[in-house]
């Protein structure tokens, strides 16, 4: 499917000359590692003993009967160490970095989930780790910053541009342009210049392979995942990409609704073809090609671009996309907490909301599998404020006073 890093017209390697060599080298090393038994047995070992794989596939019986539609299964990626699927890719690439003799890893981070995963993977594998994070995201996701530091990573605050995820990608690319000799750039989603989209899909495809095995005789009618850059979605869908079934549904951030700056819907909204961050895809850019601001209640979906393979599969019709608004994601968050005792990550709650709608429309006798890409512990400051505003504020105030006293 992938010719020269392209998926149809999307993808490629649109980087300055300085990064061409390092990316070619990475591609070669990744290819070599893929046929290296020792590499895979170590990866397998880390998946089992460090990440905690396989993650469960839960038949969500309560949710299914409450909805009265299709049977819902939930892949519990959120039970992986560090709380999200991001660790699958982080461990894979960190191991590759080590194999390449790199002593330092840099990463971008928005929500902080990828940053936390990288920091943990690097602690485990004894590699220096630097995480770039926008000032605005540091403010929004402070708890994750503490975890990264506890793992021994250095968190570098990015004060340029909009001070969010896209700017931390720029900062990491800048670092890499002068540090590639000893440093690996551990990109966190299925995007960026080739070979990142292939590599990230490859490390995340463990989600889909496990799900398929766990489903056994059950043939799913639909798979649903949320799509930020697209790494959990493409990894979850991977074994099912060939052919026309099951339905593959991607949930993008619908934010506050339509309009510039209100959402991050690249496919289901107003994405335009452009080249940003080293790859060609659909981006939220204006008529001049300037990257537009985005919004989502979930920091992990709050990014103006989408992985090139997802853009391609959207165009081919293989993956369908819907927008899920902030309020709909919050409803789904409450629903799965009450029905199944699961707190979805805010990102994953977008997939949850899309799955509920789809299960209703498909009706009984069908099967819908949704990927809970992360668990929602990290979101407490956002979900509590949104669902229980005044009481949460009071708690925070009391807490800060207690802290000062002690």
């Amino acid at each position: 499917m992938n010719e020269g890093g392209f998926f149809g017209e999307y993808g490629g390697r649109y980087v300055a000359e300085v990064l061409r060599g390092p990316l070619e080298n990475l591609e070669n090393e990744f290819r070599l590692a893929q046929t290296d038994e020792a590499f895979f047995s170590e990866l397998e070992n880390l998946r089992r003993n460090f990440i905690g794989r396989p993650t469960p596939l839960l038949p969500a019986l309560n949710a299914s009967s409450s909805i009265g539609g299709a049977d819902i299964y939930i892949k519990l990626e959120g039970l992986a160490n560090t709380g999200a699927h991001k660790i699958n890719n982080a461990i894979g690439q960190a191991l590759l970095a080590k194999r390449m003799g790199k002593t330092r890893v840099i990463a971008e981070s928005g929500a902080g989930q990828h940053g936390v995963a990288c920091a943990a993977a690097c602690a485990r594998l004894k590699i220096d780790c630097v995480v770039y994070m926008g000032e605005e995201d540091i403010r929004r996701q402070r708890p994750n910053v503490y975890w990264m530091k506890l793992y021994g990573a250095e968190v570098k605050s990015v004060s340029s541009g909009t001070r969010t995820l896209k700017d931390s990608v720029n900062a990491a690319l800048r670092d890499w342009a002068s540090s590639w000799e000893n440093t690996h750039y551990l990109l966190g989603s299925a995007l960026g210049p080739s070979p990142f989209p292939d590599m990230v899909r490859s490390f995340q495809s463990v989600i889909g392979r496990e799900t398929k095995a766990q489903l056994g005789d059950v043939t799913p009618d639909a798979l649903v995942a949320c799509v930020g850059g697209g790494s959990n979605a493409i990894g979850f869908f991977e074994p099912y990409l060939e052919g026309v079934r099951p339905i593959l549904l991607g949930a993008e951030a619908g934010g506050r609704g339509a309009g510039i700056g209100n959402n991050a819907s690249r496919i289901s909204g107003d994405g335009r073809i452009s080249i940003v961050h080293g790859y060609k895809s659909r981006f939220l850019v204006d008529l001049d090609g300037q990257v537009l601001p985005t919004h989502s209640i979930s920091a992990g979906l709050d990014y103006p671009g989408i992985g090139p393979q997802l853009a391609y599969l959207a165009e081919s019709g293989r993956i369908r996309f819907v927008s899920v608004r902030d309020d709909e994601a919050l409803e789904a968050l409450k629903f799965f907490a009450i029905e199944e005792g699961l707190i979805f990550a805010m990102e994953s709650a977008h997939a949850g909301a899309a799955a509920i709608t789809l299960a209703r429309s498909l009706g009984p006798g069908k099967t819908v599998v949704v990927n809970m890409s992360g668990r929602g512990d990290k979101d407490i400051f956002i979900s509590a404020a949104a669902l229980d505003g005044p009481a949460w504020k009071t708690f925070l105030r009391e807490q800060s006073i207690t802290e000062e006293d002690s």
Binding site: A16, E17, V18, R20, A177, S274, F283, G289, Q290, V291
Partner: protein
């Protein structure tokens, strides 16, 4: 230092920084200061091949509502006053937004000498190198000194008049020593038959660097140093005029007033 060297500076500026009128003053100042050519950058929201100074300048220009169309307006005014060579720098996103060929045609309208798009390199260029050459404003590839000979051949086989050598690993903005590896790379290109002209930059901010560099290349590119000067200046046009003069070690006549 050889004071007989006819210094040749290509001066980098950002269209619309700090605002449209002032960027016009800057262009005038650079021309008056004796720049050989202007490299005019179209501001982009995510200029990740540039350093923080230039990124900030882009942000300032864009926050004041600068549009790609304003670049053409700026070029039109400059062209009415001067025939100085102009290199236009853009990122891929702004260059392809209305179609790459349309973009190049606009550039040619204002007698642009060359197009610099750092994230469209030969072989992954969306047809930039061919189309730009056909239209008469060849693209300028940005090279780094440690590329392989094979890659160098590939780049030099493109239809080009100029190449831009980025002297330092990494992005623009920090001070560059022009050391043995860079010198030998430049010497390697100079031994080629039918070689393109060379501009070199990244971190040039001292008169001595310029003089040293001009022993090896046709032009030294000064970027961040100019942006820095503009950002601290009450009268950016006059400030850059002086800077360009100093960098070329040329004594300028005092302007009246």
């Amino acid at each position: 230092m050889n004071s007989d060297v006819k210094a040749s500076l290509i001066t980098h500026m950002i269209a619309g920084y700090p605002d449209f009128e002032k960027s016009l003053e800057v262009a005038r100042g650079l021309i008056a200061g004796g720049a050989y050519a202007l490299e005019i950058q179209i501001p982009f929201s995510d200029p990740n091949a540039d350093g923080p100074l230039i990124e900030n300048a882009c942000r300032v220009a864009l926050s004041r509502g600068f549009k790609v169309a304003d670049t053409w307006r700026l070029l039109e005014v400059i062209r009415a006053e001067s025939s100085i060579p102009i290199f236009l720098m853009s990122y891929a996103s702004t260059a392809i937004s209305c179609g790459l060929a349309n973009f190049l045609r606009r550039a040619v309208e204002f007698a642009t000498t060359g197009i610099i798009i750092p994230n469209l390199v030969p072989g992954a260029d969306e047809g930039l190198f061919r189309t730009a050459a056909e239209l008469g404003c060849p693209a300028v590839p940005v090279l780094v000194p440690w590329i392989s000979d094979q890659r160098l051949d590939e780049i030099l086989s493109m239809p080009i008049d100029w190449i831009y050598v980025a002297l330092r690993s990494g992005i623009t903005g920090a001070y560059t020593q022009i050391e043995a590896p860079q010198r030998s790379f430049l010497a390697k290109i100079r031994t080629r038959q039918r070689r393109p002209r060379i501009m070199a930059g990244f971190g040039i901010q001292k008169t001595a660097q310029v003089a040293n560099l001009l022993e090896f290349v046709e032009a030294a590119v000064v970027g961040s140093a100019i942006v820095k000067t503009i950002s601290g200046a009450r009268h950016p046009g006059e400030a850059v005029r002086k800077l360009v003069g100093e960098l070329q070690n040329i004594k300028l006549p005092k302007t009246p007033g």
